[in-house]
């Protein structure tokens, strides 16, 4: 084994691009959406001011939303091209797939057992149950928030196919889904990717495309064993990124965390004065 290649390939360029574009549109949507919901607070007014005020924040919100929906549709098409249709549906299940399986449920409980010292750390494969949850939560979330958002962005078209009171429902579903998404990303996803001790100060995997081999060996031993027994491990080892690249990932990742925490804290401390 080459001594230089200490990292294991985990994401392709396209997948990293999807994640980066999703991050940027998510932050923009979160900031513009919150600026409108909180517009009667000083914090909300300031936030809306960044986008030119209450009305233009909505314009930015809508176009960022179209951008995100375009990304979602492209991602769905990308998934269709990645599926091995000759062996469908067997090809989309298994340890390399993000489709949940029975082991994820037992892993979840064993993992909690490990947290409190009752069990050994479960031998995770390529995707942990929390990673699958993150993926599918965003997938379903974008469907819900995208459809309700489109209904409100084009209310005249939408009410040709449903009664006007559907817009009342759409707004509430959109709001609650937005809080669920932001809460999950800004608290849980950020903590797991950045702040827990084994990843602190940052897990670069999603930006660099590769993960530290030693860390993966201890966290996802099943995956490494599988690769070894298939003789595929050597093929997926890569060398580390340059210092400049690492610095860029670090700055970008932490900037996003900072924006997320700013939105989270602002939203929580001003919670009592929202005019729904």
């Amino acid at each position: 084994m080459s001594t230089k290649k200490k990292r294991i390939k985990r994401f392709t360029v396209t997948q990293r691009l999807f994640h980066t574009l999703l991050m940027l549109s998510f932050m923009l949507l979160g900031a513009t959406g919150l600026s409108r919901l909180y517009v009667n607070t000083g914090w909300g007014k300031w936030l809306a001011g960044l986008f030119g005020g209450y009305e233009s924040a909505l314009v930015v919100h809508k176009y960022a939303g179209f951008f995100m929906i375009c990304g979602f549709i492209i991602h769905a098409l990308y998934l269709l091209t990645k599926i091995n249709w000759n062996n469908f549906p067997k090809s989309i299940v298994g340890p390399d797939s993000l489709i949940p399986r029975g082991k994820d449920i037992t892993d979840f409980f064993s993992h909690i057992g490990w947290f409190i010292g009752f069990r050994e750390l479960p031998r995770f494969d390529r995707w942990g149950y929390w990673e699958k949850f993150d993926y599918w939560a965003v997938f379903w979330g974008m469907l819900v928030i995208g459809v309700t958002g489109m209904m409100m962005a084009f209310p005249l078209v939408a009410t040709q196919y449903m009664p006007g009171w559907g817009l009342n429902v759409a707004l509430w579903v959109h709001r609650i889904e937005a809080f669920l998404a932001m809460g999950h990303i800004f608290i849980i996803h950020f903590f797991i990717a950045h702040l827990r001790r084994h990843n602190f100060p940052m897990d670069r995997t999603m930006f660099e495309g590769s993960a530290d081999l030693e860390a993966v060996k201890s966290e996802k031993p099943s995956w490494i064993d599988r690769l070894k027994s298939n003789g595929e491990l050597e093929g997926v080892l890569v060398s580390d990124a340059g210092l400049q690249q690492k610095a860029a990932f670090f700055v970008f990742g932490h900037a996003m965390v900072a924006v997320g925490l700013f939105l989270l804290i602002g939203a929580l401390v001003n919670w009592h004065s929202i005019s729904w």
Partner: protein, 226 residues
Amino acid sequence: MKRNNKICTLILTGLLLAAGFLSLPGTTLAQEEVASSIMRYKQYEVSTGYYEEYEAKPQGQRPFVDIPGVRKGIFPYSQTAAGVRNPSRLADSHQGIKFYNRRRCEDCHVEQTKDLHMVRANLTCRQCHGKEPIASINHYFSPMNPIRRHAYVCSKCHEGASASYAGYVIHEPNPSLAGTLQTFPVLFYAFWIMIAITVGTFVVFLPHTILWGLRELLFRKGDTHK
């Protein structure tokens, strides 16, 4: 090269999708300036758009009207009771209210001042409900009558508003309250289902994340033991 081709295909698909979105009708902004005041309205409205031609009688006029707790004869028939007993059909919906001219709308209609049109768009009651006497919503000639509300009221700001569009519930009840189960059940269920999903997610994953953080804080990387 193969990877470049793939990325090009993705970017091209993205541009096509973006073009598709841009070709959709414009997003609606209240009070936007347009060259013609009825152009878009005609575009969407299925009727002729000329409401003066048929001042239709609203549906649902019940000939048999009971006074609750009082029974007169076998059939509680009244030609006029429908109008008198149902305050949503009066020419002046506030008729008979004492000291009416000294009162403000929000003295009685408190809940109706708390929705988006009031709080966010800063509308006043009169901008939609009109001047005195304010006719009941279902009075034949009221501009608020659902048969013409979209054309006479909503489209003052929302150009192109259709009858279906005007079905948006302006004075939306608080979706969390039990009373909403009667007045707007779909909103009530949608709200509580979404709240249940949100609360459920945090109830499971917040303690999960905290415990995970504590475990890693206390034990080194690679320690897989109990």
